[in-house]
Amino acid sequence: MKGESIGELEELVLLTVGSLMDKAYAVAILEEIKERTGRKLDVTAVHSVLRRLEKKGFTNSTMGGATQDRGGRRKRYFTLTVAGRKIIDETMVTRMELYKKLLMATQ
């Protein structure tokens, strides 16, 4: 099925979209990731990932209101869809299970 799998960067961006709630647009996501993980992403990469996620049906986007400092251009805000939320949950569960196994093994 299309959109079943999800890459590492995609997962990170998707998580950030969820965690920023209704303030998630590309530059904000970029800065959040930089702050949390220290990874310096390229804004073009973020855009590319966001387009991919939307195509896969994990996010929705709406245009926000106009602001002054962007030359009057509107922002595109992203929100998680149900499918997006589900895939995050699934990935996390798998990870936790594996992590627990690791802990058991190394004790």
Binding site: Y25, K55, R70, R73, R74
Partner: protein
């Protein structure tokens, strides 16, 4: 003041970006721009903005509407689509074309890589433009010339002190020593180099003391592979390695590890010590000599130095220092750029092997020829197909296609084809590199570089263009009316097509003939009566007792005495016979070359062999006059001399037996016999005058100079008569270990050594043979394709003829007539071309074969037979078709 992102970048973004995505993407970029202006500066922000605009150019972001649908992109797309369909529709022909092109491209790539590697030797040194190797040419009044690229040891200091243009001078020398840790020792080659060596050349030191790899007298540096060889996985740094120099073992400390020299380096070394040790190895006389030679000297010049001036000055300064000693006419010192060494056989050989540039040229030419055959093949096949496609052109023209458009369309077919062939060819070539290395005994490596992509694309376009331009011109020239009316079109085009066919056959036959001639010459070299027999002969290098006095003669005697021990041990075996000892063995070009000077300045040059009485009978060397040494005859042993016929002629002696040799400087001696000339050097060279002695002392008394390239330590040789030659080695090893338990056995088969002398020719022959077979395959593929087309266009004719009673033979004649004539013309044309080129190649040999008529007869036959097979098969198939079938189509 408010700053803005660059307008042009915005415009590009607006041009390509999908309008739905544009607003927020541009907004984000502006926001980042503003942030950067505040944090850094405007310039950086503008650069970043432009960069981000470029990076945003992704498939998901670009607009997919009219903007991209200009006529060019659409037509290219359409052309490619049609090309794919056309090629797919006629799969057989496309397949033939593809295979032909792939073979051609593969050959071209492999040979091209080989040529490229050969011409890029020594280009990896960063200072390559300023590094020169010195050569020395001494000319004497009597016409004697000594020309060497190994130079006197004092040159290093001489150049550093007298020439401000010289930044550094370094020397490189090689010696064989017993090397090892602890008790285990093996003979290995040790480079003796100047401590500044690593500053001049780019042999990166990867571990240890990078500042001064050869800082002290006890330092030794190893290549990575030698570090592994001697120390395995242990860390070699700081460990000691024993080297037996002169009479004792000296301990050297591993001070640094350098990366193995690349295959494209003329200087190949794995282990080096500092040349400060020279003062122990050599006496004062050697170190200060102007005439005896040993190391190679390299100078690193400062930028923009005038080499001509340095050469002039060097001669003057050196002549002044030498003074009026001997009748030296000139003492030329020359500078050879380091990048020139590998492909310039005009300068004498130093330590680096030199390739024959002629061979490189021949190989490059062959690669190109095979590629051209493949292109011609494509062209002839495509023209053949044009008969079928006439209607297509007609319809297109009626619908308004213009000529350039049509040309472009047919070109895209050939370019697409070449693209596929190129990809396959590259993959095949990469996979074939190990086989290629095996076949040619070379060391080809492929290293991917980014410009290869560009070269690849250019290659596709150029080859595609060359292969496709002529057919596409012909096709686009067809007239719509003629083709649609259904008349047979364009009879005159056959001339060009036939010309191309002839050209293709010509190259193929030329390659076949050349292979045959090369094979003939190589066989001749390997089977020529050399004047001695050497089947199943084995040789082992002897060594003097350690600690023996260091003069040459006493070392020689000591080694000979060792040899007697081994000889008596081997004598026990009935299957071993003809045991002999001599200072040199066959299969080397370096037999000691000596010079005797007389008081009046007359010079004599000859080669010297120190051998025991068994040498001549062991190898069945024929005596034309006099006798061999007598075993046990003391007088013979002390002063007996045997010369070869060339020496008798050279010394001008009519009846030499019982006399002294002409040079007066020699000590007491008497000529016992004269041998027929035997080819102790390779057949590239004439037979030089040779003197054979048991005791070299009388000859040495008259010798003033010499040049010994081959190791002159005595070797023991014997013939093995048993059934299994590998047993011979077992016997030798067992007895060797019994007699000399601590020494390493160095042995070889004589016939292998002799074969090795012609390795270059043999390799060349293998390469050309392979290329020839490839070209035959391509030519036959072409013929198959064409004959199928011809038969298809003549289906009705054949049917009618069969109804009227024609048999297979008649049909064969009908089809063969055309091709037969073409092959014949090609054969005739190829003769002068082959004769001219191959005569030039054969001039490399002092002893060579005649080209001979049979070569052309055979190659003609091969071409005719190959052609007949193809045509015969298809005629047979065509003639089997029931005429009812072929005529019913109406």
């Amino acid at each position: 003041m408010e700053s803005h992102p660059p307008k042009w970048a915005d415009r590009i973004l607006e041009w390509y970006c999908n309008p739905e995505l544009l607003e927020d993407l541009q907004g984000d970029l502006h926001e980042i721009f503003k942030g950067t202006v505040e944090n850094k500066n405007e310039r950086a922000a503008k650069w970043l903005y432009a960069w981000l605009v470029l990076r945003s150019f992704r498939w998901s972001a670009i607009r997919k509407d009219q903007a991209l649908k200009n006529s060019f992109t659409v037509m290219t797309y359409n052309n490619l689509k049609i090309a794919v369909r056309v090629l797919w529709k006629d799969r057989l022909n496309s397949g033939i074309n593809l295979v032909g092109l792939t073979i051609g491209i593969t050959c071209f790539l492999l040979l091209g890589l080989y040529v490229k590697q050969e011409v890029s030797f020594d280009h990896f040194h960063r200072q390559k433009d300023n590094i020169y190797r010195l050569w020395l040419k001494e000319t004497y009044n009597n016409g004697n010339i000594f020309f060497n690229s190994v130079t006197p040891p004092r040159f290093e200091v001489f150049f550093e002190e007298n020439f401000p243009e010289v930044q550094t001078a370094v020397q490189l020398n090689f010696n064989q020593y017993l090397v090892g840790t602890g008790e285990e020792k093996l003979t290995d080659q040790v480079a003796i180099i100047s401590p500044e060596f690593f500053e001049v050349f780019d042999f990166p030191v990867v571990d240890g003391n990078t500042e001064e790899p050869l800082g002290s007298r006890e330092s030794i540096v190893l290549s990575q592979s030698y570090a592994k060889k001697y120390f395995g996985d242990r860390d070699p740094l700081g460990k000691t390695l024993g080297i037996e120099i002169l009479d004792g073992t000296r301990e050297f400390v591993v001070n640094a590890i350098f990366r193995d020299p690349p295959v494209t380096s003329s200087i190949q070394f794995d282990m080096a010590i500092s040349n400060v040790i020279n003062d122990e190895i050599f006496g004062e006389r050697y170190k200060n000599a102007w005439f005896s030679v040993g190391p190679e000297t390299y100078v690193l010049l400062k930028d923009n130095s005038d080499t001509e001036k340095i050469m002039e000055k060097a001669e003057q300064v050196a002549m002044n220092l030498i003074g009026e000693s001997r009748d030296l006419e000139s003492y030329r010192i020359g500078l050879q750029p380091i990048t020139d060494i590998h492909l310039n056989p005009a300068i004498p050989l130093g330590y680096a092997p030199v390739s024959n540039p002629q061979y490189i040229f021949i190989l490059g030419a062959i690669g190109l020829l095979v590629l051209i055959i493949a292109c011609v093949n494509y062209a002839t096949l495509s023209i053949g197909q044009s008969m079928k496609r006439g209607k297509e052109v007609g319809v297109r023209k009626v619908l308004g296609a213009v000529k350039p458009g049509l040309i472009l369309q047919y070109l895209s077919e050939s370019i697409l084809m070449v693209l596929i062939a190129m990809v396959t060819g590259t993959v095949v070539a990469t996979l074939l590199i190990p086989t290629f290395n095996n076949l040619t005994n070379s060391n080809l490596q492929i290293v991917f570089e980014s410009w290869h992509v560009l070269a690849f694309i250019c290659g596709v376009l150029i080859i595609g263009f060359i292969a496709g331009i002529y057919p596409s011109l012909i096709l686009s020239n067809l007239r719509a009316l003629v083709t649609l009316r259904g008349g047979s079109s364009a009879g005159n085009k056959h001339v060009v097509r036939q010309g191309l066919m002839v050209f293709q056959f010509l190259i193929t036959i030329f390659l076949i003939s050349s292979t045959l001639i090369m094979r003939k010459q190589v066989n001749f070299l390997q089977n020529e009566d050399l004047g001695y027999t050497y089947k199943s002969a084995i040789t082992a290098r002897l060594f003097p007792r350690p600690g023996e006095d260091t003069t040459f003669i006493s070392r020689n005697n000591s080694a000979m005495a060792n040899g007697e021990l081994l000889k008596s041990a081997l004598g026990k075996y009935p299957e071993i016979s003809d045991i002999a000892m001599a200072s040199h063995v066959f299969g080397s070009n370096g037999w000691a070359k000596l010079v005797a000077t007389e008081e009046d300045g007359t010079y004599w040059r000859f080669r010297l062999l120190i051998a025991d009485p068994y040498f001549i009978p062991s190898f069945n060397i024929k005596m034309s006059d006099g006798r061999n040494f007598e075993t046990g005859n003391i007088a013979d042993e002390r002063q007996g001399v045997i010369i070869n016929q060339a020496a008798a002629d050279y010394f001008g002696m009519e009846d030499p037996v019982g006399k002294r040799l002409t040079p007066k400087e020699f000590g007491e001696h008497i000529v016992l016999g004269v041998t027929e000339d035997f080819h102790y050097s390779s057949l590239h060279h004439e037979v030089d005058p040779l003197i054979i002695v048991q005791n070299p002392r009388p000859i040495f008394e008259g010798v003033s100079d010499g040049d010994i390239l081959d190791d002159p330590m005595p070797k023991l040789m014997f013939t093995y008569n048993g059934p299994n030659i590998s047993k011979a080695f077992d016997i030798l090893e067992t007895e060797w270990n019994n007699v000399f338990p601590n020494a390493e056995l160095n042995w070889s088969f004589l016939d292998e050594r002799i074969k090795l002398q012609y390795e270059n020719e043999a390799r060349m022959n293998r390469l050309v043979s392979t290329a020839t077979i490839m070209s035959i395959v391509i030519a036959m593929l072409g013929l198959i394709g064409l004959i199928i087309l011809v038969i298809n266009s003549k289906v009705k004719e054949i049917g009618i003829r069969k109804v009227l009673g024609a048999g297979t033979i008649t049909l064969f004649k009908l089809l063969y007539r055309n091709f037969g004539i073409q092959i014949l013309i090609a054969l005739v044309l190829s003769i002068p071309v082959t004769m001219w080129l191959m005569t030039r190649w054969l001039e490399n040999f002092a002893f060579r074969v005649n080209i001979g008529v049979e070569v052309f007869i055979i190659s003609g036959l091969i071409a005719v037979i190959a052609g007949s097979l193809v045509i015969g098969y298809h005629t047979f198939r065509a003639s089997r078709v029931n005429p009812v079938e072929s005529l019913r189509t109406e």
